[in-house]
């Protein structure tokens, strides 16, 4: 008892300590148990004091029931178990050493890019697991897949799909790796190879599994990304600060304590200095902005409108180029060279390399603060990238699926363009080409552009070399590239089920290539990207990509006639029809429940309930905000009261004899 009193007198006079939960031990009953362990290590006193406290509580005074001792022992055993488990499951700590190394040298901003790569690797790995387990294994193990199906009422023109690859030369076989034709076309890589007879007697319906596993996987991705967005959104909302803008906290949180190399330290110090200078300049700018006249404001807004119009025009021109490229590459596929077939990905890449430069130049004219400029350019690049991908899919669909021109002569007999007898495989090939091309671009950039640039900067001192300098690793643009690649993989997963495997391999290799580029060819960027809102940004980009993929997939699954000479869904009018057909085999009670659950009344009631819950949460948040304001004012008043009382006391003491 005496020791703890002594201890309390010796501890520093922080307010927080006297209100620390650990000191409420006298009032709370014996149930601290393992909480005591948890709180002890989070206590702000020195090690000696903590060990003393631990001894005190273990040996003297309080009656520690056997239940509490058991809990403590159990907690300690659990921690040992966790440590052992972590030693065994090192596989989940993929690339941990590399990530730590990158964080140490380049900071958490660039490390967040590599962290994101790791996340995408796991997303693709999940897809590979699901598809192998639910589709590939059942098909290879138990089914006879060489039956060519003939759909009802199909004429000969729609069954004209040849699977003969014997007449291809060796050179063509080599090209097939790049274009996905020949041997690859009829392998399990593409949808066309999964020819399974519809058999109602089998327990396991591969058709249903194919549809549901892909839809389920996309839904799981959606939930996973949403969960990550919500955690970073909460932090972002807190930062938005309805109270006062708190940029000044930066001087306490900016310095990264992990930095060990002197060059990085100098660079960090430079960047902090630059940030502070920019902040001061920003303050001056804000004052000037207040003093803008009406005339200047209207001029500025007109200019901004004009610039946005120019940007829209540029994007429209880019889409037209993509349209032309698609038309050229979708001509009679049998006689096209590899270069012609790769025209759409090439054009999309060129568009996405040159247009951001123009965006960057145009945004300077808009008269915004540097931060806003960077964010605006980034948003425009994201929109450009995803919409160029979307436009490509649209033009492809227009051509191959006759979307919008169902009465054209080549579309009438089959419901899709009869030039593409197995159109799913054809679309899968396009996605395969795009994925392959994005990987090739990564390789090419690393070795054909970064490396010469570094050699030039190192060995030559001409004006060009000095102007170019070493490359800077721009995180947002790299992330945009991998998000676009992932969108392509998600779009192609229905047509090319093993595309995520290709994605896994390419991400694995990309990690090491980018790490090599980073360490050898790049200098740390002066504009150090903030790790905090990057997670939110990356996940939002990924979510947009997922929406794009889901929209196109949804259209294909629900409205397009599957091809007849190949694939799982040849006998259905749309792939979605598998579900109602399978459900008709369910017992009547299950069907009844399903009818109720999907009826209008039930959905309406559910919607009402959700809106009610949402209203409760929103009103609670608003009430909390008001309470915070009130408490803030109260706190300031308390301190003023305290000083008033002190002054009063002082004046009384003066009058004492």
């Amino acid at each position: 008892m005496e020791d703890s009193q002594n201890l309390r007198r010796r501890l520093p006079q922080h307010d927080v300590l006297t209100t620390h939960p650990y000191f409420k031990t006298e009032t709370s009953p014996e149930g601290l148990g393992n909480n005591q362990q948890v709180l002890l290590r989070a206590m702000p006193c020195s090690m000696q004091e903590k060990r003393l406290l631990r001894q005190l509580n273990a040996s003297t005074g309080r009656e520690v029931s056997s239940w509490v001792t058991w809990q403590q022992g159990r907690y300690r055993a659990y921690r040992q178990f966790q440590e052992g488990f972590r030693n065994l499951t090192r596989i989940c700590q993929l690339w941990k050493a590399s990530l730590d190394e990158i964080e140490g040298v380049f900071g958490p901003g660039i490390q967040s890019y590599f962290h994101f790569l790791k996340f995408l690797f796991f997303i693709n790995f999940l897809a590979v697991l699901l598809i192998t387990g639910f589709i590939l294994l059942p098909v290879t193990v138990s089914y006879d897949t060489t039956i060519f199906l003939k759909g009802p009422g199909a004429g000969l023109e729609c069954m004209n799909y040849s699977r003969d690859i014997s007449h291809r030369s060796a050179w063509q076989h080599l090209q097939d790796i790049f274009t996905g034709e020949g041997y690859l076309e009829h392998s399990y890589l593409f949808y066309g190879a999964y020819n399974v007879k519809q058999d109602n007697n089998r327990l396991y319906s591969v058709h249903l599994a194919y549809l549901l596993s892909i839809l389920g996987y996309l839904f799981a991705c959606f939930l996973w990304i949403l969960r990550r967005i919500v955690t970073s959104l909460v932090q972002w909302l807190m930062r938005r600060c309805e109270f006062k803008p708190c940029n000044s906290a930066r001087i306490f949180t900016e310095w990264d304590f992990c930095i060990q190399s002197p060059e990085v330290a100098t660079l960090k110090q430079r960047s902090i200095y630059n940030d502070l200078k920019i902040d001061l300049a920003e303050q001056i700018r804000r004052i000037l902005k207040q003093q803008r006249t009406w005339k200047q404001l209207t001029q500025l807004y007109l200019l901004r409108l004009l610039i946005n119009g120019v940007i829209l025009l540029l994007m429209a021109a880019a889409f037209y180029c993509i349209h032309l490229a698609t038309e050229v590459s979708q001509q009679d596929a049998a006689s096209l060279s590899v270069v012609n077939q790769y025209l759409p990905p090439v054009v999309i890449s060129i568009v996405n390399v040159f247009l951001p430069f123009l965006f960057h130049a145009l945004v300077q004219l808009e008269g915004c603060s540097p931060n806003t400029e960077v964010n605006l350019t980034l948003v425009r690049c994201v929109i450009l990238k995803l919409s160029s991908l979307g436009m490509f899919l649209f033009f492809l669909g227009h051509r191959v699926l006759c979307a919008g021109s169902i009465n054209a002569p080549q579309c009438q007999p089959c419901g899709y363009n009869k030039l593409y007898q197995c159109w799913e495989t054809h679309v899968g090939q396009e996605m395969y080409k795009m994925t392959f091309f994005s990987f090739l671009t990564t390789l090419a950039f690393a070795f054909l552009i970064s490396l010469p640039r570094r050699l030039l900067a190192k060995h030559s001192s001409c004006a060009l070399a000095r102007w170019l300098g070493k490359e800077e690793f721009l995180v947002p643009h790299n992330v945009l590239d991998i998000v676009a690649a992932q969108t392509v993989i998600w779009t192609g997963i229905f047509f090319c089920p093993l595309l995520p495997l290709l994605g896994c391999v390419s991400i694995f290799l990309t990690f090491y290539i980018k790490k090599y580029t980073l360490f050898q060819n790049c200098q740390p960027s002066a504009q150090l990207f903030r790790a905090s809102h990057s997670k939110f940004l990356f996940q939002t980009m990924l979510l947009l990509g997922l929406f794009l993929a889901c929209t196109s997939l949804g259209y294909v699954i629900s409205s397009v006639r599957p091809s007849q000479p190949c694939g799982l869904f040849a006998n259905y009018s749309t792939p979605w029809q598998v579900l109602p057909k399978a459900m008709s085999h369910l017992p009547t009670s299950a069907l009844l429940i399903w009818d109720y659950a999907t009826s209008n009344v039930f959905c309406f009631l559910l919607l009402m309930l959700l809106s009610l819950i949402l209203t409760v949460y929103i009103s609670q948040a608003q009430a909390n905000r008001q309470v915070i304001e009130r408490l803030k004012r109260q706190r300031a008043q308390c301190v003023q009261e305290k000083w008033c009382l002190v002054k009063k006391l002082a004046s009384h003491l003066v009058h004492l004899p």
Binding site: P12, Q13, H14, D15, V16, Q37, L40, R41, A42, M43, P44, S46, M47, Q48, R51, R54, R76, R79, E83, G104, P108, Q235, M238, R239, C241, K244, P245, C246, N247, S248, A249, R250, I251, F252, T253, E254, W255, D256, F257, C258, I259, Q260, S261, P262, V264, A265, Q269, I272, Y273, L276, D279, L280, A531, S532, K632, R635, A636, C638, V639, Q640
Partner: protein
């Protein structure tokens, strides 16, 4: 690994595990690092809790701390005598608070101690000026430093006393989500 070491008793290792965020292996590794800072001063046998402290100069030359502008303040904040001499207990304590798993509240308390240069339990204007000068290696001009310090106090001071108390500091830190990832030393 646990039963073969002869540096600490099991009871000591348990105590360290309870009082810090480290596992047994990490504590032994930390002892190795502490020992190699001064092999002739630090004994290999800690079973009897020897009273060995290392001076600040040895600690601030560690690669993890060498490039940190606040290295002296960090070591002083964790030393018992306030001068920067760290015993092994303080050494482990320091890296435990700066480790990845330490909670934000604990880190905020020690960050406050570190940035409070004159140890008066308040971060006043002179403390802020010193922080800023250490961060920018004194490259900002005097007026710029004053401007920034005034802005910080203006934004963060909740109880209007012209300096930052611990509640003000903690409130400001809670709005900076970078804090947890930057106030972290990996060892």
């Amino acid at each position: 690994m646990g039963n073969k070491q002869t540096i600490f008793t099991d009871e000591q290792l348990d105590a360290y595990q309870d009082c810090t965020f480290f596992t047994r292996k990490e504590i032994l590794r930390l002892h190795g690092r502490y020992h190699e800072l001064a092999p002739n001063m630090v004994p290999m046998d800690y079973k009897r809790d020897p009273c060995v402290t290392l001076p600040m100069q040895l600690i601030v030359n560690m690669p993890e701390l060498k490039e940190n502008p606040f290295k002296e303040r960090i070591v002083q904040a964790f030393s018992e005598d306030g001068e920067g001499n760290l015993s092994f207990n303080d050494f482990v304590d320091m890296f435990s608070v700066l480790s990845e798993t330490a909670p934000r509240e604990l880190k905020a308390i020690y960050a406050f101690k570190i940035y409070d240069f004159n140890t008066d339990n308040f971060i006043c204007k002179s403390d802020l000026e010193q922080t800023l000068n250490k961060l920018t290696k004194e490259e900002l001009t005097e007026e710029e430093v004053t401007l920034v310090c005034e802005k910080v106090i203006d934004e963060a001071d909740m109880d209007a006393d012209g300096k930052l108390g611990f509640p003000d500091f903690e409130n400001m830190i809670s709005k900076a989500p970078d804090f947890l990832s930057t106030f972290h030393i990996r060892i």
